[in-house]
């Protein structure tokens, strides 16, 4: 006689073995190494670091390999590793003014001190499949190198702020919260909102940011500045009393300039939306800046009815590791509850029949 499915343990073992084989693929082909992933699929690695909220290119590359290129799965692997790491302190705030720039563009000025530096961007490529890449072999020509700029690269937003046109961010000496240690409570302050957005899903933030451009909570953005490059991480051990350099990490920062009509207490001026992500993640940094500004609607006394302006909605749903877990849990067995629903619907149908 048929009895409920048995042998879950054996099935899981077999599924894992199959997964391993599927990941490796055709063994006649060379196995891809984590180092190759790190070097040649760098933007995938960067995205995994950002959403996995752990800056380690090597581990992120390993996660991409292990997850067969499923980047949300890779971010999940990295998060689950990160959570076991002991925490011995917090770094000093990053000084992105002192960033070693690979790219710096502003859309608000034709030219500006420090210049426009395009860097390794897809922006002006023609999106034509390059069939030469299908045939492995030749390394590309080395790019021409200019003398590194030595003059300062001031911030666009700071130049506007000096003129009184850009709202200054309110200073806050309180220790920022940590949403990986304390659950998010609402309303969440801006530091926590930015934390959530920084590790949030790129696609989700992209769509939300896009929705603000299409009229759902619009805030008339201009890219004040995008900078991408290496920034020094400093740490001040209590026993030393001075900061030491731990190393450099790659980051992308975006400052959006947005209109603000002014309020009873503040004159009309520009306001800022801010985005910062690990690695080269320009789309994410821009989307984050749009959503950050949208989430400031309440504080600025603006109407607050679009999805991107509602912090419970945005912050509760931007984390793709949480989202994928809960969506995919629907494939776990639910037959116990379904059984009670079956009986429930049968009862309802019987009641309807009885009334007829």
């Amino acid at each position: 006689m048929y009895v409920a499915t048995k042998g879950g343990e054996r099935a899981i073992g077999a599924a894992h073995a199959w997964l391993d084989a599927a990941r490796r693929g055709d063994t006649a082909l060379a196995e891809v190494t984590a180092a190759q992933v790190e070097a040649q699929l760098g933007l995938a690695v960067d995205r995994v670091m950002a959403e996995g909220s752990c800056h380690d290119r090597g581990l992120a590359a390993l996660a991409v390999k292990q997850s067969r290129g499923d980047l949300i799965e890779a971010a999940f692997l990295l998060r689950a590793y990160r959570t076991t790491l002991p925490r011995f302190g917090a770094s000093l705030p990053l000084d992105t003014n002192a960033m070693l720039l690979k790219r710096r563009v502003s859309a608000t000025y034709k030219d500006l001190p420090g210049g426009q530096v395009l860097g390794p961007t897809f922006d002006y490529t023609h999106r034509l499949l390059d069939f030469r890449l299908a045939a492995a072999g030749l390394a590309p020509e080395p790019p021409p190198e200019a003398e590194p700029a030595t003059d300062a690269t001031p911030r666009v937003t700071e130049m506007l702020a000096r003129e009184g046109l850009m709202q200054r961010e309110a200073g806050d000496d309180r220790e920022p919260g940590d949403l990986t240690r304390e659950p998010l409570a609402f309303p969440a302050d801006r530091a926590l909102r930015l934390q959530a957005l920084a590790r949030g899903d790129e696609g989700f933030l992209l769509s939300l940011g896009y929705s603000t451009q299409r009229g759902y909570g619009g805030n008339h953005p201009f890219v004040g500045e995008i900078r991408m490059g290496e920034v020094t991480v400093e740490f001040e051990p209590a026993e030393l009393g001075f900061a030491i350099e731990l190393g450099e990490i790659g980051i992308t920062e975006c400052q959006m300039v947005n209109q603000f009509k002014g309020s009873r207490t503040e004159p009309p001026q520009f306001t800022r939306g801010y985005g910062l992500v690990f690695g080269h993640g320009e789309r994410k940094a821009m989307s984050m800046a749009l959503v950050d500004r949208a989430l400031r609607a309440a504080e600025l006394g603006e109407a607050c009815d679009a999805p991107a302006q509602q912090q419970e909605f945005v912050l509760s749903h931007c984390d793709n590791v949480e989202a994928t877990g809960f969506v995919e849990h629907l494939k776990l067995p639910h037959y116990v509850d379904f059984q009670s629903e079956l009986e429930n619907v049968r009862t309802m149908r019987a009641n309807v029949e009885a009334v007829k």
Binding site: A11, T84, E182, P187, F326, H329, L332, P333
Partner: protein, 283 residues
Amino acid sequence: MTHHTGYNFAYLDESTKRMIRRAILKAVAIPGHQVPFGSREMPLPYGWGTGGIQVTAAVLGPTDVLKVIDQGADDTTNAVSIRAFFHRVAGVATTERTAEATIIQTRHRIPERLLTERQILVYQVPIPEPLGKLEPRIAETRRMHALADYGLMHVKLYEDIARFGHIATSYAYPVMVNARYLMSPSPIPAFDNPKMDQMPALQLFGAGREKRIYAVPPYTSVRSLDFDDHPFRPIRAPHACELCGSRDTYLDEVLIDDVGGRIFVCSDTDHCSERQAMKEAAE
């Protein structure tokens, strides 16, 4: 007992466990109240029991005997996976016998056998907020709990009666704990709700993704919401178990062919096999 080297006993580091234990103590002190806690990222996905796993990890000791069930069964894939996880990172003894377990982690069921004071029942909770379907804003539902303002839920149940003639909630059926807090019993069938009332075992609820822990201490009043003229009615399939003949346990419906053939078997596999063994011994 040996466990996977490279990780602390039961995976979480000791300071994290202490944080979770503090949340559990607070939860026990305020029965039915959802306590926010610093839920960690676990190596299993959100929605697959990360809250229950963290609670279990925090209360688990080396001499504990762990049972893990999903849908009432020990051999469902996710139960197998969680049991294997604790075997790997804690090296504790595991069992499929309800009577032998000191900690039982469950998804969607309460075992049929009456639990004892020596046992802890850990529920995996997907959505801890019983009012969430009626009011999605957590800031607002917290206020409603603070004021014990549960009119919204009573209206919902009343609307069920007005439309269907009975309360049409068959699982995750809301309960009042200690006559104070409205609580989600997690998605157990309403059939299991009465077992929560005055249960001798400690009941702990972990919601990892939503970062909440709540508890029902032993011998606490847990009442399923109802009305005087529409008393709470647990739902079960009106059949006997094909294997053990039980008429008072929760049954799963199993399709045996594609022309409408079906049998009903106990959802609690341990309870069912115990009854089968008793039946055989008697014969």
